[in-house]
């Protein structure tokens, strides 16, 4: 056993070994998977050791963060961090989150009631550094030391006892990328402190002041989306090719002709997908098109830059980028004159646009002027309308439902997807816990798209561990690979995480598991579909 309880000050010290190391023996057991048969942990390679500060846990999420070369660079980092923290505490620079931050910093009673809610902490074997309060306690110590009279006066007596140097900043930056921001911990806090959002505040400081963010989230995420049009790198012209390919491919596979409507002025609905769907799961936007056309819905998509990619990575670390994207989406919808904008199966995008955007978009772009909704209630409405005939027996295989944190815990959209499954999937069952208490897939807050260095290993072994265990438990009577099983995950990021950990744990070979969205299941059970829509061989 290697559970370590490193004192907080270790974060700023020269260390000989990481503050915590991941070892197989410590990790939580998974039903049906013997640890000895799991892909073994890769040792930390020389490239990482020689290039990065790897002393948090031997894993690197920020592959673009190289140690400073000179003392001046070190001092500049510290200066910028403190300047960022000062802005974080300022009502004008941080009006979006100040109340949440200040109450969180000042009134946590350190009872650790939240800890057992955290899938990362539990799956890791309860490594101290992953406790939801650990990273926030470090921030609190820095805040007290530099920004409170009691901290300046009484120092370690009030807990103002962490040294701030470049190592502190780099390890803290890594540490906030060991939290999925799922906010399950906040549900349990007796005081109402939100350690998830506090971790996000550290990310905001790093991104908005120092430009520190995983490449996939900022540079190749929001930046690419705002300058090229999509975080996938898809330009409007490339999008056109993709859509044509999906139309042809759908016809070849199903015999159904679809045509994605583009920039149709005055349509009822502007549908915005996570552009990752076009690239990785084209059957998902195709299924939407099949359903919408069959239901007689007046809808359109946009080929304006940003307008064909619903993602909003600012949700995870940057209010400026978040505001830019929601504003762009809303303006595109307004220009098209649609009645409402619906986000496809993507949790973070839905929350960013519908919930966070609700307090960024004002006046003529306010919620009352152009409605913004999740696709899930619409899908249930399509079923209820009776416009499409469904045959549930076409979905006669075990199905379980993953609740994306952003749409369920963070938006309260719980029943529409369940109502649909009750109607079209006779063998579906809940995983436990579920609904607003469900566990994150392990890919939340950007982890699903962060593929650099050895971070995917950490994600698959630790942050997604609870989810694979939940899934296997949901199917525990039918683990036999002779029975095909479907994990319904109506969220692009969740699907990305599931794709990776299914591969990591060899779920296809061992358990015949596949995954997909809700729309694919709906189309699969449509009476008018001559061939099965779900392909069991691909994932």
């Amino acid at each position: 056993m290697a559970i370590k309880r490193p004192p907080f000050n270790d974060i700023s010290k020269d260390l000989k070994e990481p503050m915590a190391t991941i070892e197989m023996d410590d990790l939580m057991d998974i039903l049906g998977i013997d640890k000895k048969e799991e892909t073994p942990l890769e040792p930390i390679n020389d490239k990482i050791k020689n290039t990065y500060d790897w002393y948090l846990d031997g894993h690197i999420a920020l592959g673009n963060l190289y140690p400073p070369k000179t003392k001046e660079e070190e001092n500049e980092l510290v200066r910028k961090f403190l300047s960022g923290l000062e802005k974080l505490l300022d009502p004008k620079n941080n009006w979006p989150m100040l109340q949440i931050l200040k109450t969180g910093l000042d009134y946590c009673v350190r009872c650790q009631t939240c800890s057992e809610a955290c899938h990362v902490y539990i799956a890791s074997g309860r490594q101290e550094i992953y406790r939801p309060t650990y990273r926030i306690e470090i921030l609190r110590k820095i805040y007290k030391k530099y920004f409170t009279p009691e901290g300046k006066l009484l120092g370690s007596f009030v807990g103002a006892d962490v040294d701030l140097n470049w190592k502190t900043i780099y390890r803290l930056a890594e540490l906030v990328h060991r939290c999925n921001l799922c906010r399950r911990c906040a549900q349990r806090c007796p005081v109402g402190i939100d350690n998830g959002y506090l971790a996000r505040e550290i990310r905001v400081l790093l991104s908005q002041e120092l430009g520190i963010s995983p490449t996939e989230i900022l540079e190749k995420g929001s930046r690419l989306q705002l300058t090229v049009g999509s975080s996938t790198g898809l330009s409007p012209m490339a999008l056109k090719d993709y859509l044509e390919f999906i139309e042809e491919d759908t016809y070849e596979k199903t015999g159904v002709k679809i045509k994605f409507p583009i920039n149709k002025k005055g349509a009822d609905i502007l549908l915005i997908h996570n552009a990752g769907e076009f690239v990785s799961w084209p059957e998902n936007p195709a299924a939407f098109a099949i359903l919408f056309d069959a239901a007689g819905i007046s809808w359109t998509m946009s080929d304006e830059p940003v307008g064909y990619d619903s993602i909003n990575y600012g949700l995870w670390n940057d209010d400026i980028e978040a505001a830019r994207v929601v504003l762009r989406h809303a303006k595109i919808g307004k220009d098209l004159g649609v009645k409402k904008i619906v986000i496809g199966e993507c949790g973070h995008a839905t929350k960013a646009f519908c919930v966070v955007g609700d307090r960024i978009l004002t006046g003529d772009l306010g919620s009352s002027e152009i409605s913004r909704e999740s696709c899930l209630p619409l899908l249930w409405d399509i079923y209820k309308s009776g416009a499409i005939k469904f045959d549930p027996s076409k979905n006669n295989f075990p199905v379980t439902l993953h609740d994306p944190c952003n749409m369920v815990r963070n938006m309260g959209i719980v029943m529409p997807q369940r109502n649909v499954l009750n109607a079209i999937a006779p063998r579906w069952r809940e995983m436990h816990p579920n609904g607003v208490y469900n566990y994150c897939c392990g890919g939340g807050s950007g982890f699903a798209i962060m593929q650099g260095l050895n971070f995917p290993q950490w994600r698959n072994k630790v942050s997604s561990r609870m989810k694979i265990n939940q899934i296997l438990n949901a199917f525990k009577e039918e683990l036999d690979p002779g029975i095909p099983k479907y994990v319904c995950a109506p969220c692009s990021n969740c699907k990305g995480a599931i794709r990776d950990f299914f591969e990591h744990y060899k779920c296809k070979e061992k358990f015949n598991l596949t995954y997909g969205g809700l729309v694919e299941l709906m189309v699969n059970s449509m009476v008018d579909m001559e061939k099965p829509y779900i392909s069991w061989d691909e994932y």
């Binding site: 009006w95 009134y107 012209m237 919620s367 719980v414 607003v436």
Partner: protein, 306 residues
């Protein structure tokens, strides 16, 4: 008893009320935050399973018509936590619930004791005095037991000790001594001086009282004075962390008060310094603009500026 204790009594009471009020006012007056609700939102009519109005198609229309929110649920849920520490009971694995419950009830009953005692100064009925004594003894016993067990837990649990600062121990020892002094006043038969002390504070006339009473009230008054500046404020803070943040699901409608507040906040200047931010512009400006060199940098010949 010196004049000091009389003035300190009034000073501590004023500090308690004014300090707490100002602290809470400061929190209340912070800018309107982005929506950060977390479900279940207890006033939502679908709170039994954590649902929300966003489960409905055209929910904006439903909001416009008026949601059937059950606002009393907000109060009930906060009271459940304040009175019974429900979440600690259900989820805390470090054995903190029972001693915390004792300590919290010790405090509530202690305030009840003070209230009854002040009442007894004006209306010295036998029943009232006896009742206040019972409150005092129970408060003392609960508080001593609760704070003592909490101190032990925080010393002997490796996990808790890591997070417990000397100030946290100071707070717990303050409570322990305060409750111990309260209990001692009754155990050593000095409680008859309590009303005399309170009477002297009210009338500003010094009287001689037992040292037990002086110590008891000194600690209690220090607690009152210290309360607004300490983490003890976590009790009233729940109204904001829960009601005003975690359950704040209010939708912005064009022209409503929230909309106007947000428009004002969007005009705040921000000075974030990362390369993609534009220092010194308002939030509205930074949201609608990219840096000049980033504009039009796409392969699709479409505009990307906002």
């Amino acid at each position: 008893m010196s004049q000091f204790m009389i003035y300190f009594a009034w000073f501590s009471v004023i500090c308690f009320f004014v300090g707490s009020f100002l602290k809470l006012l400061k929190i209340n007056n912070m800018p309107l935050h982005l929506r950060a609700e977390l479900y279940p939102v207890v006033h939502d009519s679908k709170n039994s399973y954590g649902g929300s109005y966003m489960e409905d198609m055209n929910y904006v229309e439903e909001v416009r018509k008026g949601l059937k929110n059950i606002w009393v649920n907000d109060i009930i849920e906060i009271l459940r936590e304040v009175l019974f520490l429900d979440r600690v009971n259900e989820y805390n694995i470090y054995g903190l619930w029972f001693p915390s419950l004792l300590l919290h009830w010790g405090l509530y009953i202690l305030f009840g004791w003070l209230f009854l005692s002040v009442f007894s100064v004006f209306w010295p009925f036998y029943f009232l005095i006896q009742l206040s004594s019972i409150f005092g003894i129970v408060a003392g016993a609960f508080g001593v037991l609760g704070s003592f067990i909490l101190i032990l837990r925080r010393i002997f649990s490796q996990e808790l000790r890591l997070y417990t600062t000397p100030l946290d121990f100071f707070n717990l020892f303050l409570l322990l001594f305060m409750f111990l002094a309260t209990l001692s006043t009754f155990l050593f038969d000095a409680n008859h001086d309590i009303l005399r002390y309170l009477g002297s504070v009210i009338s500003f006339k010094t009287v001689n009282v037992s040292n037990f009473v002086i110590v008891q009230f000194f600690l209690f008054q220090f607690f009152l004075f210290y309360f607004p500046f300490s983490k003890f404020m976590h009790a009233p803070i729940k109204y904001w962390t829960w009601h005003a943040i975690m359950w704040d699901d209010a939708l912005t409608m064009k022209g409503n008060k929230q909309d106007l507040i947000l428009q004002e906040q969007l005009e705040y200047k921000q000075f974030w310094a990362a390369p993609h931010a534009i220092q010194g512009t308002s939030w509205a400006e930074v949201a609608t603009n990219l840096k000049v060199e980033e504009r039009g940098n796409n392969n699709g010949n479409k505009k990307t500026t906002l």
